[in-house]
């Protein structure tokens, strides 16, 4: 970091006096940190891919198979496209819900344990 950058960072309070470089190294080597990061990354990657798959799947159907989306559901007027579209909206909500539930319990727990172990 340059002198200017350090000065600016100090003004912003980004560099907190009580967290030193050695602390970060200690955290980095802590097995709890590694478990936290690897399990969360895997989880987040899966959810992101799922969301993009659902969205792009829907868009590609809209672009290439309009006839399928125009099909009627259960003999009514409602079309498959409307049901799927609402499904995409619902899936966005459900996926964020799944992530938040998991993060509030498992990931926060790991983070807390980690912070206790490194004395923060």
């Amino acid at each position: 970091m340059t002198v200017n950058a350090t000065a600016a960072a100090a003004v912003e309070g980004r560099i907190t006096a009580d967290v030193g470089a050695s602390d970060y190294q200690a955290i980095l080597r802590n097995p709890n940190f590694q478990t936290l990061v690897s399990s969360r990354n895997k989880f987040v990657w899966t959810l992101s891919m799922l969301m993009l798959f659902i969205y792009l799947g829907f868009i590609l159907l809209v672009a290439f198979d309009k006839a399928l989306l125009a099909q009627k559901v259960a003999g009514g007027t409602t079309s498959l496209g409307i049901v799927l579209g609402l499904g995409v909206i619902l899936s966005a909500f459900i996926l964020t819900g799944i992530y938040v539930t998991r993060a509030n319990s498992r990931f926060d727990e790991l983070t807390e344990r980690l912070k206790r172990e490194v004395g923060r």
Binding site: A9, L60, A70, G76, G85
Partner: protein
């Protein structure tokens, strides 16, 4: 097809995806006929202004530190922040525009809202918590965490100011058009009203007032829209199938409104639009700023969950409102300009234009003049709430990024920095008022698209790469960020919406697609990667070594700036 002369509350994004869909998220386009004075709306809007000014007065008394001004002291709860984020999305354009799109085309309106929504889960999974752990007031705090302060902040501030300016112009012009249409007041009255109020909110109340204005508006809009959708559903005994059947019967396009129509003409443009919406959401400075107003990563995470739920719910409401408008309005000639022989076109002849008026007219149909006035006032208030957030984001970029870090190089005081921010807010407001007049008769629909594309192609790649990839260096971020910005702007200028429709250049557009994101976003990412790899300087090695601190902090919150930094 809505004629160009009619009012189109237009998302330029849609305008780019297909000219027919030119009306869903941020700009109001074309000439408008001034309607008769809507006294109920004016009174309700006046009450909204008085109430929000009261809140601003209270917020001003509590706003003392820089943290109070930029980030509401970190004291916004997850629920409040969720409402505020949702409020930023529930613009006049998405409310009136998407329900108008459903009214004209049925199913196609849904494609639009879905594109806007799915950005949120991605924001949550990739950056929401890390932003809170790393940043303090602006997203440049995060991007410049271990990179060169001066150049990265210049880049981030440029990205922010480009996005904010184009978004603001579209909103100012939109406010002018809406005030004629909804209140029956002249265009020239809207621009100073909006400009002066947004300056007052931001200068006196800072982030606290800006957030509360957004929360109040979100509650009013959700309440009003819920009531309208409920009235429609009650009419059909809560049987959506019956509602769709009735709509298909009266709509001139018949059963075609239940399936994809002309919205998706060209798959490349559609996917490009999808990318711009998803990654643009994750790069809009006035939205990213909201993550610094909550106490910690947990609150940031929960606020996105609430926001996603509220935005999804809101889009379902606009869908019901659009279909409700079809069934309630299309057989009622009082809403139409009826020809001499008593005939009228059920889409084209709607008084005030089918692009914006269906939701407003439906309010009158289900709730009389009071609901009509209420919904009109709320629709106008939405613009006010959004421009206040934009102004604060722009002012923060000037004071916190350009002034404090680049010009004063860290040697300034909090008080002076906040004063610079307030002066910037006034300047931005005055410039916005002037531009509001200058652009009165221009087609500004492409500007919101430009804002989203720049956010997706400049702000977002720089932010994501600096957070997630150890190898990112200042050189890589600078080259990639500016390439993304310039290429996005260039491709939009050369696309049909600007080159042919706005500049009236002869022949076909130089850039064949409607949205640049599919090309400019990967370009930015590849350039950041390549130029970071090529960067063998001392500085680059230091920056890569400093990744450890940033990495640990972004993942755990250890060392993150607290809720109150006095």
């Amino acid at each position: 097809m809505i004629p160009r002369s009619s009012l189109a509350l237009a998302a330029a994004l849609a305008a780019m995806a297909c000219p027919q869909a030119a009306r869903a998220a941020g700009a109001v386009e074309g000439a408008v006929e001034k309607q008769g004075l809507n006294i109920t709306a004016v009174i309700i809007f006046f009450a909204f202004v008085l109430f929000t000014l009261g809140i601003t007065y209270r917020a001003a008394r509590q706003t003392k530190s820089a943290s109070d001004f930029y980030a509401a002291g970190g004291g916004i709860t997850a629920g409040q922040n969720g409402l505020a984020i949702a409020g930023d999305y529930m613009s006049a354009a998405s409310f009136l525009g998407i329900s108008g799109l459903v009214f004209s085309n049925g199913f196609d309106g849904l494609i639009y809202s879905i594109g806007f929504l799915v950005g949120w889960p991605i924001v949550l999974f990739t950056i929401a918590e890390r932003l809170r752990n790393l940043g303090k007031f602006t997203f440049a705090d995060v991007a410049a965490f271990r990179l060169d302060q001066t150049s990265i902040r210049v880049l981030s501030a440029t990205g922010t100011l480009v996005v904010v300016s184009f978004y603001l112009i579209a909103q100012m012009v939109g406010a002018g058009k809406l005030i004629q249409l909804l209140f029956g007041l002249p265009y020239s009255s809207a621009v100073p009203i909006v400009g002066v109020l947004m300056i007052v909110y931001v200068v006196f109340g800072g982030m606290k007032a800006t957030t509360w204005v957004q929360i109040i508006k979100a509650c009013l809009l959700l309440g009003g829209a819920s009531f309208m959708a409920l009235m429609v559903l009650i009419h059909f005994n809560f049987d959506p199938n019956a509602m769709f059947a009735a709509a298909v019967q009266v709509h001139p396009k018949g059963d075609a409104i239940m399936a994809p129509g002309a919205f998706v003409a060209d798959p490349v443009s559609t996917i490009s639009l999808g990318l711009a919406l998803i990654f643009g959401t994750a790069g809009l400075p006035h939205i990213l700023m909201r993550f610094f107003t909550v106490s910690d990563a947990k609150a940031a995470r929960k606020s996105v969950f609430y926001a996603t739920g509220l935005i999804g719910y809101f889009y379902i409401l606009t869908f019901i409102i659009g279909f409700g408008a079809i069934t309630f309005l299309m057989n009622d000639p009082t809403y139409y300009k009826v020809g001499a022989n008593g005939s009228f076109d059920k889409i084209r002849d709607l008084i005030g234009g089918a692009a914006n008026m269906p939701a407003i007219d439906l309010a009158r149909a289900v709730g009389g003049d009071v609901l009509y006035g209420f919904i009109s006032a709320v629709a106008f208030a939405t613009i006010l709430a959004v421009v206040a957030g934009l102004t604060l984001a722009g002012a923060s970029a000037v004071s916190h990024d350009l002034y404090a870090s680049v010009i004063a190089r860290g040697r300034t005081t909090e008080g002076r920095e906040v004063n610079v921010s307030k002066i910037s807010a006034v300047v931005i407001g005055v410039v916005a008022i002037v531009l509001g007049y200058v652009f009165e008769n221009q087609n500004v629909a492409f500007m919101v698209g430009l804002a989203f594309s720049v956010a997706a192609s400049c702000n977002f790649p720089v932010l994501l790469m600096s957070i997630l990839w150890r190898g990112t260096t200042t050189l890589g971020a600078l080259v990639g960020g500016f390439l993304g910005l310039i290429s996005a702007v260039l491709m939009i200028v050369l696309s049909k919406a600007v080159w042919v429709d706005t500049f009236h250049m002869a022949g076909t557009a130089v850039f064949p697609y409607d949205n640049p994101a599919l090309f400019s976003v990967p370009l930015a990412f590849v350039a950041i990667w390549l130029f970071s790899k090529l960067d063998a300087s001392q500085r680059a090695r230091r920056e890569q070594a400093a990744f450890v601190e940033q990495y640990v902090r972004s993942e755990t919150g250890v060392g993150a700036s607290g809720a109150h930094a006095h």
